[in-house]
Symmetry: C2
Subunit: 151 residues, 2 copies
DNA sequence: GTGATAGATGCAAATGCTTTGCATTTGCAT
DNA sequence: ATGCAAATGCAAAGCATTTGCATCTATCAC
């Protein structure tokens, strides 16, 4: 299996950052690129395993943390799930809406905070660097199930 | 020291929820009411100690988790700090802007997401229940310190 | 007030995600 | 091909949080 072009880009990006290109890192990037939702270290580990890459969980933790430090990935914490999650910093800044019952995730493309950030900089003098948004709700399917239970 | 009126309200609110009023819970509420920023369980524990209330850390964890379940408090996770934090669900929904260098926190009163939430409900069919926003930046003081270092 | 009891607390041990130390391996520049 | 700094694997440690259980206590019926 040859590497998708994005991974090569990412790996080049890494070497520009003075970071070595290894089998493990390539596999981890492949997993992250293939996912449009944030993944926990363990989930990344599982997925690399499914792709026949035998990677140590510590390596996953070390590498994703490095990506975060280099601003190539974003870390969040999924409270429901109790784990940190990671996703590549998307060129198109996005957020997610999660169903509190089944965990389904919907991608939100539009970010409503850009304007607020500029306004905050003026008001507070802070240099606003970034933000995280987590949205919660109940997906249509779970709404139907819940209303049935109540009968 | 007599209890502020808000605490009595909160305690009444609790007993309406079928929950006992104890010395420990009163002290924890007092701490939460006095803070306008989210506090970790450990921080709450310290503050109750400062107020001469000897409370076990487990009790803090159990009680704040109960408040969250009853929607009387909100839980978040402070990634920089590596701990969950809690604050009373404010009648006036608010968010915070945190300095990544010194940890200073500024309160944001206006929530920009209400409109987005309504729009999302139409688009996705989700019933949007809530959200968390975390904003990051560098406060004016740290900006000055950082630019000095670079000279 | 008294007693009964479900619920709350304290303590210590367990849990589970994440980090770390160290010996071994490996990318990559020369 | 070689050397070495960086990366990996493994196991042990760290640390916030949870849990089991014995003890205590707020609350309610009397």
């Amino acid at each position: 299996m040859s590497k998708p072009v994005e991974i090569i880009d990412e790996l080049n990006l890494l070497s520009e950052h003075g970071v070595r290109n290894t089998r493990q890192r390539s596999a981890i990037l492949q997993v992250l690129l293939a996912s449009d939702i944030p993944l926990s270290a363990e989930r990344i580990h599982e997925k690399t395993k499914e792709a026949d890459a035998d990677i140590n969980l510590s390596t996953v933790y070390r590498f994703v943390e490095m990506l975060v430090e280099k601003n190539l990935a974003t870390k969040s914490f999924n409270l429901e799930y109790g784990r940190a999650t990671f996703e590549l910093s998307n060129p198109h800044h996005r957020h997610h809406l999660t169903c509190t019952h089944c965990g389904e995730i919907v991608v939100i493309r539009e970010c409503p905070l850009d304007k607020l950030c500029r306004a905050l900089e003026e008001d507070t003098g802070f240099a606003v660097i970034g933000h995280r948004i987590e949205l919660f709700g109940v997906c249509p399917k779970c709404q139907r199930e819940l209303s049935t239970e109540e009968l």
